[in-house]
């Protein structure tokens, strides 16, 4: 399995001369003409269209000195993630891959472009070992423009949110889009869509039939979110997909939060390869002893590092089966902190030596996914993703070589990749045949009840993200249960947006602290229906209908008016704007939410995850309030007070 992702960068013009020693003149002519803008399509097809062989005769010839290298990185200090040594070594690159390392002057001809790395460390391009890029709300091209200059050149993902809305065709479209960027995606097929149990409403399911096709894609490395619950429940949808994967020598990338003991043994016996959901060093150590790779997470909503890193810094466990991931990031984090580059810095700050931190951000992720022959180190044959770093302790990425081309300096793309035109089926995906009304949202009980005992979801952030039970008594007026901002018991609703039926369920939640207004989002893993939390049902109606009107996005509503919004017109998940622009919009939207009284610094980053039924103990989908324990929909109304009971 090997594929090319040669970007059509203007910088490539610099290397064009490299082709002059090339035997195949027609290729040279073609490339030259394409840069005159005459033959762009042809080149695109040739360079990015098909699978390329891993064993490439041209690469061998360059390594032999029989053909010139395209690029030579000279004078750098190579950080070797296999031997943990740092030494002076030059790197010869051809066709976007590393041809030779060491004393490689013999690969150089007049045509060879020289990148001067004098005084710099050469570090392998970083790998995010588990991320849902859609959650950053920008297209994959925009993500590439943000991630690559910060040193994250590969991501492991499933594009599951795209899959929910736009199906396999949508996932394929994004995988094709990313080929035109210097970012690499290693793709895993979602274990099943919807992930939710009981199943909620989505536009496109992903089951064994889809697995049978997508597992053959050249980018495929496994199945995604192989959930502990699926194992315990003997979910044949998921186990059947795992059978297909094992036969293809693909790996089962797990999801086993707070899982230990016999359930962990069952997951590992089923073939779980890795997990990104450990909350303590002890949990991580237990998983390690059973052979599970741990991908320690620091995302916008969840930071498992302070606890989990103790496995290395206090328990003294080896780091070779530990990698780094973000899981979910908003653009404020991307812009202000970074991606895996930030986690490497963070890891160093927590007491891990820089080389180990770099290993976790590169080789260890590649090994966990079985792609160490492609990415994760600076060794011959690998994709030439190399970071130039001036100081290992500070770990600031000064420049980035991706696919053998210098693409970024000082965390900026030299020439950002232009967005493609997006397919029509990415647009207009928020379907509501009728506007939502307050009737759809209010929980209705007996007319003459005075108050109701309510099982309220309580967002507990003390140990990561868990939704616990909190019983409250709420007033009832005219048979409608009312929210009570004074005791932080707000309405939460989920409105199905895929079929047009607008099926809506409501319950109550605490933890957001809104005093008024409402906030809503159409980006909401795992089913990407419209989640709305409000102190005011009237404002919730406005918020939900607004999102339908703009084709998806996020919104804050106060007193019947939109205070701020972020349109996400592509799949109702993403916008074609830069990470910086998106970060600006996030700040404005958060400000608007602060005005509504929330104390959460990232209220939308909690809002979007409330439909994930795999998070204990409660979740909310268009089917209703779901108990994680029973995996069933339950009635949030426990009992009524007053009236004729």
């Amino acid at each position: 399995m090997f594929w090319s992702s040669s970007p059509l960068l203007p910088d490539a013009v610099l290397c064009l001369g490299a082709l002059e020693g090339c035997e195949d003149r027609s290729l040279l002519d073609q490339q030259v003409s394409c840069f005159r803008g005459e033959n762009l399509l042809l080149l695109e097809e040739q360079e990015t269209g098909g699978t390329m062989a891993y064993v490439d005769k041209d690469l061998i010839k360059v390594a032999q000195g029989k053909q010139p290298a395209d690029v030579l990185v000279r004078g750098g200090k190579l950080v070797n993630v296999y031997t943990r040594e740092v030494y002076l070594a030059d790197v010869a690159i051809a066709k976007g891959r590393i041809a030779a390392i060491g004393d490689v002057g013999y690969c150089q001809r007049d045509s060879t472009e020289i990148i001067d790395a004098e005084g710099m460390y050469l570090v392998p391009g970083l790998i995010d070992s588990h991320i849902h890029p859609e959650v950053s709300k920008i297209t994959i091209t925009r993500m590439a423009n943000a991630a690559v200059p910060r040193g994250t050149t590969s991501i492991m993902c499933a594009l599951d949110q795209i899959g929910v809305v736009a199906g396999m065709e949508g996932m394929r479209s994004v995988l094709d889009e990313v080929k035109n960027t210097p970012l690499k995606i290693f793709h895993s097929c979602p274990s099943r869509l919807p992930y939710t149990t009981p199943a909620s409403t989505i536009a496109h399911r992903f089951g064994p039939e889809e697995h049978d096709v997508a597992q053959d894609w050249e980018e495929a490395v496994g199945i995604w979110e192989f959930m502990s619950t699926s194992v315990v429940d003997f979910d044949e949808m998921v186990l059947g997909a795992a059978d297909l994967a094992l036969n293809r020598r693909l790996r089962l990338h797990g999801h086993a939060p707070v899982t230990r003991g016999k359930i962990l043994s069952a997951c590992v016996a089923a073939g779980m390869n890795d997990d990104h959901e450990s909350y303590s060093a002890e949990e991580l150590a237990e998983k390690m002893s059973l052979g599970v790779y741990s991908l320690i997470r620091r995302g916008t909503h969840s930071d498992n590092f302070p606890e989990c890193i103790k496995a290395i810094t206090e328990m003294g466990l080896p780091a070779d089966r530990i990698a780094l991931c973000t899981d979910d990031l908003d653009c404020m984090d991307i812009v202000e902190l970074g991606l895996i580059d930030y986690i490497v810095r963070y890891t160093i700050r927590l007491g891990v030596d820089p080389i180990t931190a770099i290993q976790m951000g590169s080789l260890h992720a590649a090994e966990a996914y079985g792609v160490d022959h492609m990415v994760g180190s600076i060794t011959p044959g690998l994709i030439a993703d190399i970071l130039l770093v001036s100081d290992l302790e500070e770990f600031v990425v000064d420049a980035v070589i991706a696919d053998g081309t210098l693409v970024a300096r000082d965390r900026k793309m030299l020439a950002p990749i232009a967005s493609p035109s997006y397919p029509e089926f990415f647009k207009g995906t928020v379907h509501l045949n009728q506007p939502i009304t307050e009737k759809d949202l209010y929980l209705q009980v007996e007319q003459d009840a005075e108050s109701a005992n309510i099982l309220c979801m309580h967002m507990d952030l003390t140990e990561g993200l868990l939704n616990r039970r909190r019983d409250v008594v709420l007033p009832v007026e005219g048979g409608r249960v009312l929210a009570d901002p004074a005791q932080d018991a707000l309405y939460i609703s989920v409105t199905e947006r895929h079929t047009g039926d607008g099926k809506t369920s409501s319950a109550f939640i605490s933890g957001f602290g809104l005093q008024r207004g409402a906030i809503a989002t159409s980006l909401s893993p795992d089913d990407d229906n419209i989640i709305c939390v409000g102190a005011s049902v009237d404002d919730m109606v406005v918020a939900i209908n607004h999102l339908a009107k703009i084709g998806g996005g996020q919104v804050a509503v106060e007193s019947g008016k939109v205070a701020a919004d972020i349109p996400l017109p592509l799949c109702g998940l993403m916008a074609d704007i830069s990470a910086e622009e998106m970060a600006g919009q996030e700040r404005a939207l958060n400000e608007a939410a602060y005005e509504l009284g929330t104390q959460l610094t990232r209220p939308f980053f909690f809002l979007i995850f409330l439909s994930i039924t795999a998070i204990p103990e409660f979740a909310m989908t268009d089917m209703g309030l779901v108990s994680h324990e029973t995996r069933a929909v339950i009635d949030p109304v426990l009992g009524l007070n007053g009236g004729q009971q």
Binding site: V232, R248, V268, A269, M288, G381
Partner: protein, 588 residues
């Protein structure tokens, strides 16, 4: 078809009872590098739970008390040609399991040369009926020899395609630097097919460093078992190559190479240990992969790292870490009970959850594979060999000849020596006084008995001759002699024996081993074979041989991939030019 084992999940969850539980011991956790107290339960030959196992115990569950013992994962020999032990598959499995070695990685290339791929399949099917595991890689091409020598069964793209569909197949075998440098299309194609199916070619990069190492690794050779020095190992590790350090019978690369760990302090995670080729003398006296572990410990490696180098490291290098190499749920229940770690004394061996050896005694009684009859008659000759077939000649009236002598260095590498030899009646004579013997290779596959002759030094043979029909890579008859008439007797004896190894002096047989299976192997125990090896060796020592394992050195003389000289039935081969060279330079 592989699948998620639902029954195993049920056992893990406590919904149905385990078959066996091993309780009270410590286990070597090869992932975190720690010893920990843990119990283990087994079902369907695989490990179900490690840790707290009470919920998996039913009334029928067999309990094994491991108190005071340490449980180690079953050992792996990550690069071996088992045929070179001369044992039939059943006998090899027997001695391997006895020594805690539960998995091997192999190409069965020696067997394939004679028996063809369909009989490799037969052997692999047989192995599936045992608790032993073979992870298979079809040879990168057969014959390996360059230029090609005579073999009955060549192997190329078509056979590889068949073998790549097998579940046991993990790569192609001996992905040689020479094939890469020559851009041999069929071999490169096979390597590509592997990468496309998430497997890897298994490299062969002897003495490859610098520029050539760039070439090999850029072409996807990401493991190797042919390092000769610590410096070479360091270079390979830096390039991400999984390095398999070898201690074969007669070749010990571990001793020098292990210094990358013991002296240079490099991490050992990408280093494994292998035997490559091992005779029954070593198997019975030293052991198998257990010896590699003990040896590494003896050389100063931390015991747990030594164990990792024969368990999880090779499993990971081969993409098999979910199957073997650790004591963890889902893995094959291959485990060794040892008394204490540094001495690594094996008390019991479990394979696929079955007790296969206890206190040095095998608990299995395996019939040999049902080899088809034609594999028991593989020495093909339409006539007898004669002195004329073997003697090299000089022109009329010549009294001496200038010749090329291949000299065997203690490292097993072969260098060139120019010598002058006496000529009598046009025949060039060996010169035992100068330690120069004849070496011949006789085709035994086609029936024509085509022979090539050259001269060799380094054995010290003063009289007689010895010969073998087991001789990678083409398994023709190699014979070395101080006396050509004795060579004729030796070669003809092997034809009569249906293959084997023989020592001849004064025109009579001194010692012999019959190897009737493909002319390579016999269905006798490792102990019996070792006894015969001793006798053969001692006979040769009596005849002046002064190298420790003469039969191990003679075996490999046809391998054209070993620098700098080799000999096949087609002639003397020079490694650099990959061409035949006439050993007779001139006469006068």
């Amino acid at each position: 078809m592989k699948s998620v084992d639902r029954d195993l999940i049920r056992v893990a969850l406590g919904q149905s009872p385990a078959k066996t539980a091993i309780v009270g011991g410590s286990i070597v956790d090869v992932f975190s590098g720690r010893l920990m107290k843990a119990d283990v339960t087994i079902a369907k030959g695989r490990i179900a739970v490690v840790g707290d196992i009470d919920h998996t115990i039913g009334p029928e569950t067999e309990i094994v008390d491991a108190s005071g013992h340490t449980l180690v994962p079953g050992l792996i020999d990550c690069h071996v040609h088992p045929e070179v032990s001369k044992l039939s598959t059943n006998r090899f499995i027997d001695i391997a399991l006895l020594h805690g070695t539960t998995s091997i990685m192999t190409g069965l290339d020696d067997f394939a040369v004679v028996g063809g791929l369909e009989n490799v399949r037969l052997v692999l099917d047989y192995v599936q009926t045992t608790p032993f595991k073979i992870y298979y890689s079809p040879p990168s091409r057969l014959p390996y020899t360059t230029p090609a020598s005579t073999i009955p069964r060549s192997l190329g793209a078509e056979e590889q395609k068949q073998a790549l569909a097998w579940e046991e197949t993990v790569g192609i075998w001996e992905y040689m630097i020479e094939s890469i440098e020559e851009l041999e299309q069929p071999v490169l194609d096979a390597a590509n097919q592997l990468y496309e199916t998430r497997r890897r070619p298994r490299g062969h990069l002897p003495l490859v460093q610098g520029l050539r190492l760039n070439v090999g690794v850029a072409a996807g050779a990401r493991d190797d078992h042919e390092s000769w020095s610590a410096e070479e190992v360091v270079e390979k590790l830096r390039f991400g190559v999984n390095v398999f350090l070898r201690k074969a019978s007669g070749v010990d690369n571990i001793k020098d190479c292990i210094k990358v760990i013991t002296e240079k302090g490099l991490p050992s995670g990408h280093i494994s240990l292998c035997t490559d080729d091992v005779d029954c003398t070593d198997l019975t006296e030293l052991g198998y992969a257990d010896h590699l572990v003990r040896y590494a410990i003896e050389l100063g490696v931390d015991p747990i790292h030594a164990i990792q180098m024969c368990t999880i490291n090779p499993a990971k290098a081969y993409g098999l870490e979910h199957t073997v190499g650790s004591i963890a749920p889902g893995r094959a229940a291959d485990m060794i009970l040892v008394g204490d770690l540094p001495s690594f004394d094996i008390k019991q061996v479990f394979a696929n959850g079955i007790l296969v050896a206890r206190e040095g005694k095998s608990m299995l009684n395996m019939e040999p594979p049902n080899y088809p009859p034609e594999l028991l008659h593989t020495m093909h000759a339409t006539r007898k060999i004669t002195e004329e077939d073997l003697f090299l000649t000089a022109g009329e009236g010549a009294r001496k000849a200038e010749v090329i002598v291949m000299h065997i260095e203690p490292s097993q590498l072969r260098t060139r020596r120019g010598m002058t030899l006496p000529v009598e009646d046009g025949r060039i004579l060996p010169d035992p006084a100068q330690s120069v013997n004849y070496v011949t290779v006789t085709d035994r596959h086609s029936g024509e008995l085509k022979s090539a002759s050259a001269f060799i030094s380094g054995f010290g043979l003063k009289k007689g001759a010895f010969a073998t029909s087991l001789s990678p890579d083409d398994h023709n008859i190699i014979c070395i002699g101080a006396c050509v008439p004795d060579m004729v007797v030796a070669i003809n004896r092997l034809l009569d024996l249906e293959g084997g190894q023989v020592v001849v002096a004064d025109s009579s047989i001194v010692e012999e081993i019959r190897l009737p299976i493909c002319g390579l192997m016999a269905d006798i125990s490792a102990e019996e074979m070792a006894t015969k090896e001793h006798k053969m060796r001692n006979a040769l020592f009596d005849m002046g041989v002064d190298i420790p394992r003469p039969f191990f050195t003679i075996l490999f003389l046809s391998i054209t991939a070993i620098p700098n000289w080799s000999i096949t039935d087609q002639g003397l081969v020079n490694y650099d030019s990959r061409e035949y060279v006439d050993p007779v330079l001139s006469w006068s």
